[in-house]
Symmetry: C2
Subunit: 646 residues, 2 copies
């Protein structure tokens, strides 16, 4: 197999050296014009702009994974204006997410080691769905650095749960929620050496601490009706697993994932040795059967989580080009697109043919006992499209949108089968080339990863923005480019810089989400005050915040004691947020209207410390402050305790 | 004095109860139209939009203080597109600012207690200037929670220094850099009880640990030619000090600041007892003289920083209405605007008259020995303009722009004196009322706080956005509104949501800033490798990152040892950022092209941990990963040490 006339090993070597990538990216010609093909704009904005223009014209939310931001960015379409960040795996003072709140601290603490983990790398946003269509309840996402998955409640735009995955030290990549939000799968990309490695090794799998190789697989997560996630099972195998999708429609009951390191190498170069890697097809029922029959092992760390070796479940492989990444499924669940990152080849696997090949045992080999389906038989198309295919999304008209990192473009390809009724074009041929600036990493068509895509908008999330915006130092923002794909020609609506670093994103119509404005207050009145626990050396403070004061407005505490404050913002008015920072104590938390939060910290050294509202909550917000008076241990006596006002 | 027919004490009480603030804000009528006064738009954008449209049309940078974000937001004008965040006082994984980098950790560590302070509340951006005009070298800002000031280098868009201020526990508000960037002043807003309180008390100032009152003042900071800040002196007084400006032009040699709590109260209500508070005028030379003559005290904490009691320097007061906040100086340095936050009154003090009053000893009283200048004599105007005046900025045509939090509008007032030549209007009367949505906290006219305002753009930074954008949960973004002020009527160009929570911001032309794209590499080649220090149990790793691997690609370390990695991104290509996350170790740092950073962490428990590039740096970035193999202490032997490749 040759790509662009270059024998594959040479191409891979060139890509590896970074030369080709660098030169192509830098060499892109910049079009400074823009008049070409200009049309009457439905996206012009009036001048002067009326108040609430964007509130009334935005049609969709984008929930963009934050990458090393560790949560979500949320923006509107077509305005591209960022309305929120949702912190999850990192601490974030701006959006009120810090570990002096014990609820946050608990979520960020490794349940097995007790260590706090405040870094995150969120990759694959996955909306809750009903019958494979977004339903607007929650959005889930994974942290690649640690093995964690978080859930955001779309009523509050807040992280409500973080689930830690046992048996792994991190390095999880693909993540996907099932078509009815009762299950999710998380892929182990970075090979691991779990405590039960010997039991896998005993099945003929080589493993070595110093030299490698190690093991991979995926974790299954149960999702309850209220959104609560729990560890359900794990499937371990000789290989890492990269991206994952849980099938629906024509692929219902199957989990598919890609393996780019079928070589089981531990170094970068070794991962490119084979010309082909794999996509795997796992029958979900076979996992359930293994669990039901007790045919599994467990770990000391998580004795309740069944661990099933790959050869005890039903799994098939198909070959795909050198180092695949995305595995993306067409709206009816039939076609599965896999590109070879280090090639120019994109394959469309026909799941109807996969089922037929399994039925008819059309195998062309096996590895570690996994049958390899006949390559040509299961493919609907093998397309030579351009350098560096990564991710693929789908619109409502039977078109696939494929991002090319090296070519810096998005190419559209009409789907075959019943999809041809939607577009009437010749399938599996490039229909349009959309230049992007530069190096698309991920892309998103609105609703493009589920059964009923919304279409209309395409966003290319370009990893290299370079000179797209005014200079801002060596660390350059991402470039999100928004296109209208509803007409005959794809036109760019806007370019917008975004903070580091979005991976997959999802869009959902504005009217599907109705977040609350305030947290309702409990009926009983809050009894503010201070109590002293001399046994545990704890001061418990029950406090309220309202424009423009805290109650109590001051309290005393002996030096070195623990201060536990339960603070309620008793406002019930939209947007009247308060907050509490304590000078000299590394404490600063936000309090939404009606919200109660705990704040824990050590009183520290003697002195006068002010707590104050960090939000410009009213004209008198500067005066919204109170005193914590820390008294030296040898000067303390109970008559210095806080007293209720007379 | 009555405001809107309400006797002041009643007004204050109403404001304090939050009723008036709440009802006025909520009751604002929303104009859903927009056709009114529509004109041909210079701000329409083409469709399709050409690549680099915003890079080529943005005229200015805005450096917006981040509030509880703890650093800066940076966006373009008129695009309002945010190109960068600059972390400073908080940790921020997205923008590469975490404490596993010992340089960051040192900046965030209290030099006197050794405690790490990772919260910040940045308020008053202050650009470097030459002859009272921005010069594009640095931007400085203060942290209100702790007493800290940071400096950003505009070549790198990075925080290069954080200066801790001694003798205080936090609560500093006003901050201003002098007209030639050799000095800055930082105001102590929250009253303190410093170790030398008794020496101040001995001058007839009451102080009490439990009941208050305490002391306030301001800190002077020296700024060297290379931007390095150092603590120069402190002036302590019976009062807190809120906002501050260092004079220039007609007020050169003087420092002015506001005091809203002249009552010296410790509770919110007490701070509103007096109908008038103060603005203070400090002669800078008198501070220098006190230092030169050795007429000062010092603290044990900072024996090198002279502390000067207020009555040993030359200072005068003038009365201003109930609880002033901003003190804003007109471009020639002559008029000083001070509004009473809890009133409808804005006063313009004529500094020419201040000097005359001092010369002629026109005093109407004194407090703690500070002469109070004749109120009516020093005022150019006393204007009844609207509820809740806060901040004021100036344009290039002799106009003042005054924000009203409660009225939710910006009012323009033509200046008198020689400024009338610029506008030809009747001075000191409202010229235009600009509605904003809602509750303007701060506002900014481009260049509006220095000698040569750029004008053209006004930004109203509205603290309550409420329903301005699509709903996004109980925590609502800020609403920045951009206006064109170059014509006869002020027109709104755009509304944009911004993350919490901008305070003062500054704008500077794009062509004044030329940040670097890459850090140049040192001439000598980097010798990658690993050394083992058995005495201190430290593994020292010298590592490089390049597309698409780390060198070394793996290393071993005994369990529990300290790992010190010096990692260099050896790329010299714009936007090729790498990063390093270590699974299971709470480590994730960004590496700009050419940048070298240290990373320190504990190796922890035995196992295989992957380090990987967190940036989608090339098509092969997934494979850019290496292994840290942590070996149990009892299994370690020197033959397991990393070995250079043969």
């Amino acid at each position: 197999m040759r790509v662009f006339g270059i024998p594959l090993p040479h191409l891979a070597a060139t890509l590896l050296a970074g030369v080709l990538v660098g030169s192509i990216v830098v060499g892109v010609t910049i079009d400074r014009g823009g008049a070409e093909g200009a049309v009457e704009s439905p996206y012009a904005r009036p001048y002067p702009i009326p108040h609430r223009y964007w509130a009334e014209t935005d049609e969709m939310y984008v929930f963009a994974s934050g990458g090393q931001q560790g949560g979500f960015y949320v923006y509107g379409l077509p305005s591209m204006k960022m309305v929120a960040e949702i912190p999850m795996f990192t601490v974030d003072q701006a959006w009120g997410w810090r570990t002096e709140d014990p609820k946050v601290r608990e979520m960020l603490t490794n349940p097995w080691t007790g260590e706090l983990a405040t870094v995150g790398d969120t990759h694959h946003a996955s909306m809750s769905k009903t019958d494979a269509v977004y339903d607007g309840r929650w959005v889930f996402i994974n942290d690649k650095i640690y093995g964690r998955v978080g859930r955001v409640d779309l009523d509050t735009f807040r992280t409500e749960q973080i689930l830690w995955i046992p048996n792994i030290t991190g390095g999880v990549h693909g993540f996907n929620v099932g078509p009815n939000t009762d299950v999710a799968m998380l892929n182990i990309e970075f090979e691991q050496l779990p405590e039960f490695a010997d039991q896998i090794s005993a099945r003929g799998v080589d493993i070595d601490l110093l030299e490698g190789p190690y093991l991979g697989g995926f974790a299954g997560i149960d999702i309850a009706d209220d959104g609560t996630m729990s560890n359900a099972f794990q499937v371990w195998s000789p290989w890492q697993q990269d991206m994952v999708r849980i099938g629906w429609g024509e692929s219902e009951g199957w989990v598919v994932n890609t393996v780019y390191n079928s070589e089981r190498a531990t170094g970068t170069v070794g991962m490119f040795e084979r010309e082909d890697d794999y996509v795997f097809f796992w029958r979900q029922q076979s996992i359930t059967d293994a669990i039901d029959s007790g045919n599994y092992i467990t770990s000391e760390q998580a004795p309740d989580v069944p661990v099933i070796p790959w050869d005890d479940v039903e799994v098939y492989a198909a070959k795909v080009p050198l180092n695949p990444h995305g595995i993306d499924v067409s709206p009816t669940g039939r076609y599965m697109f896999v590109g070879g990152k280090a090639t120019s080849i994109v394959t469309a696997i026909d799941f109807e043919k996969v089922l037929q090949a399994i039925e008819e045992e059309r195998f062309e080999g096996e590895e570690f006992g996994v049958p390899i389906l006949e390559t040509e038989f299961v493919r609907a198309a093998t397309m030579d499209l351009g350098l560096g295919p990564t991710h693929i999304d789908f619109d409502d008209k039977g078109m696939a949108y494929i991002g090319f990192f090296v070519d810096s473009d998005v190419k559209t390809v009409p789907l075959g089968g019943s999809y041809t009724d939607l577009h009437g074009k010749e399938p599996w041929k490039v229909s349009e080339v959309i230049p992007v600036h530069y190096s698309v990493g991920h892309l998103m068509v609105a609703g493009g990863d589920m059964a009923e895509p919304y279409g209309k908008y395409l966003i290319s999330m370009n990893k290299l923005a370079k000179d797209s915006f005014i200079p801002h130092g060596p660390l350059i923002a991402e470039n999100h480019e928004l296109f209208d794909i509803s007409g005959n020609k794809t036109l760019m609506i806007d370019q917008a810089p975004f903070p580091p670093e979005t991976h997959y994103s999802q869009a959902i119509p504005v009217d599907m989400i109705n977040p609350i404005d305030v947290y309702p207050l409990a009926d009983e009145e809050i009894e503010t005050g201070v109590t002293y626990d001399y046994d545990d050396k704890v001061v418990n403070v029950t406090m309220t915040a309202v424009r423009s004061w805290f109650t109590p407005a001051s309290f005393t505490v002996p030096e070195g004691w623990t201060v536990k404050m339960e603070v309620t913002n008793v406002e019930q008015v939209m947007d009247i947020t308060h907050g509490i920072a304590v000078t000299g104590h590394d404490v600063s938390l936000s309090l939404d209207p009606g919200q109660t939060r705990m704040v824990e910290f050590n009183a520290g050294a003697p002195g006068v410390y002010w707590y104050y509202c960090i939000w410009f909550c009213s004209e008198l917000h500067l005066e919204m402050r109170g005193r914590m008076i820390v008294i030296a241990e040898d000067e303390w006596s109970p008559d210095k305790e806080w007293q209720p006002p007379e």
